[in-house]
Amino acid sequence: MSQINELETQTLAAIEGAQDEAALEQVRVASLGKKGTITALLATLGKMSPEERKSAGAAINALKDKVNEALLARRTIVKGAALEARLKSESVDVTLPVREAPIETGRIHPISQVMDELTAIFADMGFSIAEGPDIESDDYNFTKLNFPLGHPAREMHDTFFFNPGADGERKLLRTHTSPVQVRTMLNAKPPIRVICPGRTYRCDSDQTHTPMFHQVEGLVIDKSAHMGHLKWILEEFCKAFFEVPSVKMRFRPSFFPFTEPSMEVDIQCRRSGGEIRFGEGEDWLEILGCGMVHPNVLRNCGVDPDEYQGFAWGMGIDRIAMLKYGMPDLRAFFEADMRWLSHYGFRPLDLPTLAGGLSS
């Protein structure tokens, strides 16, 4: 029995002394392998008498179990230590900066973003989006919209013209998005609910004017749409667009050739520093023109003004973008300065929705 005890002491000491998994495996092989000391001890059982075998067998098997247990325990320890040492050696400087992902650096231009915001709001109100060409006829840009030939109001539009074609017709760059109203009424039967966003052009350039800019027009034609509805739409639009719980608007009688009655709309705001806040303050800021579609325009577009009626409004997309997001200078919109675009632009996944909010 002393032999077994001695072997146990030696083996357990060897296990305890093993510093890594390989050394531990050596100990295992030396004791429990084919030629191992415990295996050899087990082999002696065969030559023993049954009584001897019974007591020695129990002792040897107990030793085997003890060694196995010790091996397992030691393995857990050395494995843990080894992993710890490995992890220590594998550590890196995680403060090293990574490259910015494309989805972080890409930008959507504020005009596109605002057009998507307009779409989100008006689609919910049941409006479609109508579009028309930038190169227009004089007829659609002016005559059908009740600008009489030679009328000074035409000249106020600072129109870009093309040279007359072979047929003598002089085309122009649309000065407003209103010709899309004409196209819509000529092509669709009421009820009509559309907004018409797009590029517009006027031969004018200074601090607040660029020769190209963007407008959005709205048009509602049915048998009962009146100014009360127009007011509601504009109020709801302004609240939704500027993302404020309430806005105060002032409607002033005004004049446009294509609406009668006509109004200009101011929105109440507070200006301080370079910032404008809506829904508060004492200042009035003009943001759009609107009115009931002039009977002459309805007639010119094949709509009977005694059966149908409706209203239209128009505003500058660039302008409302500036008001909402605070860009100080219109001209910068078209200069493609990367610093400006990165700062005022929107992230690729800043998708304006009514459910998630127009802006984040």
Binding site: R99, P102, P152, H226
Partner: protein, 808 residues
């Protein structure tokens, strides 16, 4: 249009405050742009008595004055004005006063050792004139301590309204008063105008020498001589009226015409009769004629303009500006008063062509009241007789007052129909009456309304609705929710192109490209370089030479933008635009393109240097990747998409490609910008770009269901085999892949190029291509023989179709 409050009160009997008047004006459509109240600006300036003025002990040109400003406690003021003297009454501003002209607030000071408490002021400092030679001298009986503005009658606020082009009646104070009276702010003061028959015939006759089709250009011309007048400065009240709105008094005769212009919106002209030679003829201008106008400038006259002539030639430009030659001055003894009517559109065009913005043009181009032409002449006569004396001739009249009478059938229901306002018919008619409309007849449903001569803008019932609405107040229109057309969740509304346009922007921005919006027009040179520049797309009146032609491509604008940024040391530019381009001037010639470019090291996964490895220069494959990422994002089925080497002339011929669905349906290009284009446009660095025509990308096939096609996911493991081929450089990898795939269409599921190598070990003119083929067993695991058989077929097909040799 400017007027002062007291001027308004000449015509409007009202108790309303300035604030109420201003608010009402804006409310009824006469938008107040500005109110200037001198009483506010100058409230601290008072009349003061210089009790004593002594020489300053330390300065030759300064005086030390003791000033009594009425509070009985004289203060010491140092003054540099040469006219500061003992006994003078002048204008004093105490410490704390804001001096408008100098934009300063006075503080107590010590000037050359002498204390000074405030300032004696010049007219310049009060912004009353440019006179800063000396301090203001007021009459010796002026009450000390009184506010200077009160003493001078300057406490008359001036209101400026931004007049819309449809309201000629509001170009006169009288018309504005009528509108305010209608809005309930007071009562219009009616002032009868005396008709002067005159005591002798007007010695100058007027001929309207116009062809029958031109008669509308000058329908009426009234002329009268007043002889024996004494011209000179106009009386104080008149000068004050004119000065209050920024007009310079000239002499009584001229001031009368300016006064009536603003008072009644009726421009007039006065000729010095002694300078007019012969009879007056109104006619079209003639080429080569010119006139020196009252502003001292010479204007070239064209046949499109109407002129007033005598034997000397042109004396006046009709409805716009008189001539210097026959103008009235202090010596005028006999005056011809003209009151005429002109065609609004002709005046507008002529005024614009001549570049003259006169008070007369402002009114005539809006269309002034034709019925007031003759009363205007009578009113002017009365004023001339009152202020200058003399004797009036008969009124000589050429032409006649045009008949502008018109009736509108006005159903009362129109107001509610168009505005939602609930107003009684009685109130409607009352409003129309106060505005001067005549109710010819009325029953309970509609009225027959006659439009006053001063409202050319009112044509139909919608105009009457506007009149009633603006007087009732637009604020009273109640917001009413616009009902949905269908009581349902809103339906999708975007067209395919609209969806693709929106998605294209997000997809490209998601690849790190930054969206720009550039001008729709470029220079002729750039347009021509990018396939445009045709005459039909050239603007007749471009705003600048480099913005002259409609763009045929988005690239010129983006290239210029890239260079501008590079010039600011932002060289790694990745930018895109989704916008319109123009192939012709027809409405179907406009396309929606998406284009993007990358410059220098603006690689898709980051630009410039980095510890993890430098980005390297952009190459054509970056542009290709952008183009394909866009097509992928738009879910374009690319099975039928062909990629043809080479592109339009602005791309490097060996580093570009055309994307097409067949040769007739080219949808775009990508490539490196041609070196010649880089040079022509003065561009630096390497630039790669793509441009796709969103309109031309075929629409997806319409499917009857939203259910996706069945997915086949084989249980068996795929097998990958690698091949190394040696091919001629001219062989296109795409053809090699196609050949490999064609070897067994059921078993081969994928082909991947994992290596392209030229150099050591590869013969000159050849390329080594590593191709990995994936085989997907369908029913059972493939045997080695089966795999070898497919591999053999692949090598055979690739060799047959591309001449490739399998490398050993």
């Amino acid at each position: 249009m400017k007027f002062s409050l007291s001027w308004l009160k000449d015509h409007l009997d009202t108790q309303a405050s300035l604030a109420e008047i201003v608010e009402s004006l804006t409310k009824i459509g006469l938008e107040v742009e500005h109110v200037d109240n001198p009483a506010d600006r100058l409230k601290d300036f008072v009349i003061a008595h210089v009790i004593e003025a002594k020489q300053h002990p330390n300065a030759d040109r300064l005086r030390v004055c003791m000033v009594d400003a009425g509070d009985g406690q004289p203060v010491q003021v140092v003054c540099g004005a040469p006219n500061a003297r003992t006994g003078l009454k002048s204008v004093f501003s105490p410490v704390g006063t804001y001096i408008p002209a100098k934009n300063i607030t006075l503080t107590k000071g010590v000037i050359r050792g002498v204390e000074s408490n405030g300032m004696l002021c010049s007219a310049f400092e009060l912004e009353l004139s440019n006179d800063h030679e000396g301090i203001i001298e007021v009459a010796s009986d002026a009450p000390i301590g009184t506010r200077f503005v009160d003493y001078m009658g300057l406490n008359d606020p001036v209101i400026e309204i931004n007049l819309t082009p449809n309201r000629p009646d509001a170009t006169g104070v009288y018309g504005i008063a009528r509108d305010l009276a209608a809005a309930g702010l007071g009562t219009l003061k009616e002032k009868p105008i005396t008709d002067h028959a005159g005591s002798f015939a007007c010695p100058v006759s007027v001929t309207l020498d116009l062809a029958a089709e031109d008669k509308h250009l000058a329908p009426l011309f009234a002329l009268r001589l007043v002889r024996g007048v004494k011209n000179g400065p106009s009386p104080d009240w008149l000068q004050k009226r004119l000065k209050s709105i920024g007009l310079r008094p000239i002499n009584a005769l001229v001031d009368i015409t300016n006064y009536i212009t603003f008072d009644r919106g009726r421009p007039l002209h006065v000729f010095d009769a002694d300078k007019v030679k012969g009879q007056i003829v109104v006619r079209r201008g003639r080429a080569g004629e010119s006139i020196v106008a009252l502003d001292g400038k010479t204007y070239k006259i064209e046949p499109a303009q109407i002129v007033i002539c005598d034997d000397n030639g042109i004396e006046s430009i009709a409805g716009i500006m008189g001539g210097e030659h026959s103008g009235c001055d202090e010596d005028t003894q006999n005056v011809l008063i003209e009151s005429a009517l002109w065609d609004p559109m002709n005046i507008a065009r002529s005024g614009r062509a001549l570049g003259i913005n006169s008070d007369a043009r402002y009114r005539f181009e809006r269309g002034i009241d034709p019925a007031f032409c003759l009363p205007g002449a009578q009113l002017a006569t009365q004023m001339v007789l009152d202020l200058c004396g003399g004797e009036a001739s008969h009124l000589h009249i050429a032409g006649q007052v045009p008949d502008t009478k018109r009736l509108i059938d006005f159903p009362f229901s129109e107001v509610a129909r168009l505005t939602g306002l609930k107003i009684s018919s009685g109130d409607m008619l009352a409003t129309l009456k106060t505005l001067g409309f005549i109710i010819v007849s009325a029953d309970d449903r509609h009225a027959e309304v006659s439009v006053p001569s001063w409202r050319p803008d009112v044509e139909g019932k919608a105009d009457l609705v506007e009149e009633i609405m603006r007087i009732a107040g637009v604020d009273n229109v109640t917001s009413v929710p616009l009902p949905r057309l269908e009581a349902s969740v809103p339906k999708p509304i975007l067209t395919l192109l609209q969806k693709r346009t929106r998605l294209a922007r997000r997809a490209l921005a998601g690849r790190g490209l930054v969206e720009a919006v550039t001008w729709s027009f470029v220079s002729k040179e750039k347009a021509s370089l990018f396939g445009g520049g045709q005459a039909s797309l050239a603007l007749a009146n471009p705003i600048a030479a480099d913005l002259s032609d409609m763009r045929p491509s988005l690239l010129p604008g983006l290239l210029a933008a890239a260079q501008r940024n590079a010039d600011r040391a932002l060289g790694n530019v990745a930018v895109f635009e989704v916008g319109q381009v123009f192939r012709g001037d027809g409405e179907k010639d406009q396309r929606m393109n998406a284009a993007g470019l990358r410059r220098a090291q603006a690689k898709p996964n980051g630009s410039g240097r980095h510890w993890s490895g430098a980005a390297g220069q952009v190459d054509v494959f970056d542009a290709k990747a952008d183009a394909f990422a866009l097509l992928g994002s738009l879910n374009v089925p690319i099975a039928g998409l062909q990629l043809v080497a080479g592109g339009p002339a602005w791309f490097h011929p060996g580093r570009s490609a055309t994307l097409q669905f067949g040769p007739k349906n080219i949808i775009g290009h990508f490539g490196e910008i041609h070196p010649a284009i880089m040079e022509a446009l003065d561009l630096s660095g390497t630039i790669v770009a793509f441009e796709l025509v969103l309109d031309d990308i075929p629409p997806p096939k319409l499917k009857p269901t939203k259910v996706k096609s069945k997915l086949d996911m084989p249980e068996l493991m795929p097998v990958e085999r690698d091949f190394a081929f040696l091919v001629d450089r001219s062989v296109k990898t795409a053809d090699l892949i196609k050949a490999a795939l064609s070897a067994d269409r059921t078993m081969i599921s994928d082909a991947l190029i994992f290596d392209v190598y030229e150099g050591t070990g590869v013969p000159e003119g050849k390329t080594s291509i590593g191709l990995a083929i994936t085989l997907q067993p369908q029913e059972r695991t493939l045997t080695d023989q089966e795999i070898e058989a497919v591999a053999g077929k692949i090598v055979a097909e690739v060799s047959r179709k591309t001449g490739a040799i399998l490398r050993g």
